[in-house]
């Protein structure tokens, strides 16, 4: 189709219009600041060259910056490393002080116990299925709905969008009781669809895709496709999806992580016989004398796939979250 070559999607944000206002407001604040601190006036005005090096963005981080960042990074990574350390020890060693600081040798053994005891293989497979389906469904349905809200005119679109945004803050606890009654009625307890279906679409996803397409998809592109006689499905496939691909990838990642870590509803809808990873993890600690090393091995097994994805696609995930932050 020739439509996609008619022009690269133009990025036209509200930025250029908004910037002068923000700037004058900030300058006003600065002037106030100057008035508040008259001593600064007596100093010789810095030359533009030094000003540039002092401006926030161009500044290199000093040693202190690196030290603080290293501290926080250590804090972020330490519990994960510690998970691996404890998972490689035996329970007796964990019940002694000082706590172990380095890896032991029993990782494989503990992981094996966790694997069989908590049904980890089935749990991982289930979670993969659930998270994959949810990510796919969310991306597909939310992109299409987001496109309709961003670029198509139809009756009640404003009211429906408002309804969508308004429900983003409805807590999941609110729907648990009736959902439970429904799946009990349908005899769906312990079946994966009871976890997949309620999270298959998300209001956040619709809003996210709408915000992206509003700016990234030029209206003329859709108009041109219309004039060429393309049906709506063709427009979706050949115009909307190619333009929306980066945002779709971000939304897919976010929904996947969220579905993988979802806790509240799965623990009510599923049991240990057919668990997701999170449900299986809660089952591990229930023994009479809980074997902490085995519990940690289970936690490690359940976290490892996502950690692996983060090491491989970390840059893209970080970029995606930051892009979502600006648009949202």
């Amino acid at each position: 189709m020739t439509l996609t070559t008619t022009g690269r999607p133009r990025r036209e944000g509200p930025g250029p219009q908004r910037r002068p206002r923000a700037r004058t407001a900030a300058l006003r604040r600065l002037r106030r600041l100057g008035r508040l601190r008259p001593r600064r006036r007596s100093r010789p005005a810095p030359t533009p060259a030094t000003a540039r090096t002092r401006a926030g963005r161009q500044l290199h981080g000093g040693p202190l910056t690196y030290a603080v960042l290293a501290l926080f990074t250590a804090g972020s990574l330490f519990p994960l490393v510690w998970t691996a350390v404890t998972a490689s020890r035996d329970n007796m060693r964990l019940a002694r002080t000082p706590p172990p600081f380095w890896f032991g040798t029993r990782l494989a053994e503990n992981a094996g116990t966790a694997w069989t005891e908590a049904n980890m293989g089935l749990a991982l497979l289930n979670t993969l299925l659930v998270a994959g389906t949810v990510a796919l469904g969310t991306v597909l349905f939310c992109t299409v709905a987001g496109f309709a809200f961003a670029k198509l005119k139809f009756r009640f679109s404003g009211a429906l969008l408002l309804l969508t945004i308004g429900t983003m803050m409805v807590p999941p606890q609110l729907s648990v009781v009736p959902l439970f009654m429904v799946i009990a009625e349908l005899k769906w307890t312990n079946q994966l669809q009871s976890v997949v279906l309620p999270t298959l679409v998300s209001a956040f996803g619709v809003f996210f895709m709408r915000q992206y397409l509003l700016e990234a998809l030029p209206g003329e592109l859709v108009e041109a496709a219309r004039v060429d006689g393309a049906s709506s499905l063709r427009i979706i496939w050949h115009v909307v999806f190619p333009v929306a691909r980066p945002a779709m990838a971000v939304l897919a990642m976010l929904s996947f992580v969220q579905a993988w870590n979802d806790f509240f509803w799965p623990i009510i809808a599923l049991t240990q016989e057919n668990p997701t990873v999170q449900v299986a993890l809660t089952g591990l600690g229930r023994g009479y004398v809980p074997d902490q090393a085995v519990i940690m091995a289970g936690a490690l097994l359940g976290t490892l796939p996502l950690l692996l994805a983060f090491t491989l696609f970390g840059k893209q995930i970080v970029g995606g979250i930051m892009r979502g932050a600006v648009k949202g």
Binding site: V176, L200, G229, I317
Partner: protein, 330 residues
């Protein structure tokens, strides 16, 4: 999908020829009608799947929960509903454990949200410098976000262990006595909050960082020209520019804090729905879970859910008022 039935033209019928194409025979009236239908009704088809699922699993349960909260419903026989009016809500307001849970939710919410957002702001400020290995720092700070509530809480339970935990060992090395993290009132709340802080600080830092990068450079340059120090630049340029983002993260964190569930449940170990031996860290989410799935009163659980919803609405209204006030004073 049932939705395609509503728009025959969108459902893969051959592409209708455009009415204005030159050199071709004019399309038949049927084709033209199909095309018109497509243009008029396809938007509804596009939003239909979303609203179908959303209605079935979002809107309907929301309303039905309200309905169920006015009935006596037991877990054993959810079909049998007996009208009791506002009885469930009255019982709720009479229950000391409800007020306890509300208070705990509030304190844990403040304990987790405030330090978390302040640290995130600081981290974002640091990440905004030109750094070596910039991506590494960002990914590393985001890894807690990839860890599930369950996995994170299980590790922290071990770290906060009374007898052999690493935190108490470190305290002992510093010369302070051990803390009974789980059974103490404030120590347990702080411990639960620390799990939330650990998981979400990096994520919020990245959101702040994105907002900081959108601040135009000239602002910093003119600030520097006016002789503002780095700290003053942060205070008078960065923070005001980030105000909408900060408000956004406050709202999101508040919603998350209101719904807090997994961390206290697993932190409590066996019988975690109680939120500690004396309910010292039982949140509203846990209270709902206990009412519905341990005391078998689904009606009362529904009343808790709607109360939580009303609290969130209040927060949203307060937030809107604050935002409007801020905009006016601006």
């Amino acid at each position: 999908m049932t939705t395609t039935a509503r728009t025959p033209a969108a459902a893969g019928t051959p592409v209708p020829r455009p009415p204005r194409t030159q050199g071709r025979a004019a399309p038949g009236p049927w084709r033209r009608r199909l095309y018109r239908w497509d243009v008029r009704y396809s938007p509804y088809a596009f939003i239909a799947p979303f609203f179908l699922f959303f209605g079935a699993f979002g809107l309907f349960p929301l309303i039905y929960t309200g309905w169920a909260s006015l009935h006596r419903v037991e877990l054993a026989s959810p079909d049998h509903m007996e009208w009791v009016g506002l009885h469930n809500y009255v019982r709720l307001l009479d229950d000391a454990f409800f007020w306890n849970a509300l208070y705990n939710t509030l304190t844990i919410g403040v304990l987790s949200t405030v330090p978390q957002l302040l640290m995130a702001l600081w981290l974002a400020h640091l990440l905004h410098y030109r750094l070596r290995a910039a991506t590494f720092w960002r990914v590393a700070l985001l890894t807690p976000y990839a860890t599930s509530v369950a996995a994170a809480t299980l590790v922290f339970v071990l770290l906060y262990g009374r007898d052999y935990g690493m935190v108490n060992w470190a305290l002992g090395a510093l010369g302070t006595g051990p803390v009974d993290w789980q059974n103490g009132t404030w120590s347990s709340r702080i411990a639960v909050s620390s799990i939330v802080i650990w998981r979400w600080t990096g994520y919020n830092a990245l959101i702040y960082l994105a907002a900081m990068q959108a601040v135009p450079d000239e602002l910093y340059e003119s600030a520097a020209l006016d002789g503002a120090s780095r700290r003053q630049q942060f205070r008078y340029v960065t923070v005001p520019a980030l105000r909408p983002t900060i408000l956004f993260t406050i709202v999101v964190s508040t919603i998350g804090a209101t719904q807090l569930f997994g961390e206290p449940l697993l932190f409590g170990g066996a019988g975690g729905q109680k939120g500690g031996a004396s309910h010292q860290f039982q949140t509203l989410g846990l209270y709902l879970y206990e009412q519905g799935w341990f005391n078998f009163h689904l009606g009362r659980a529904s009343a808790v859910a709607w109360t939580m919803f009303l609290i969130l609405l209040l927060i949203a209204a307060a937030n809107m008022l604050i935002a409007r006030r801020l905009r006016k004073s601006h």
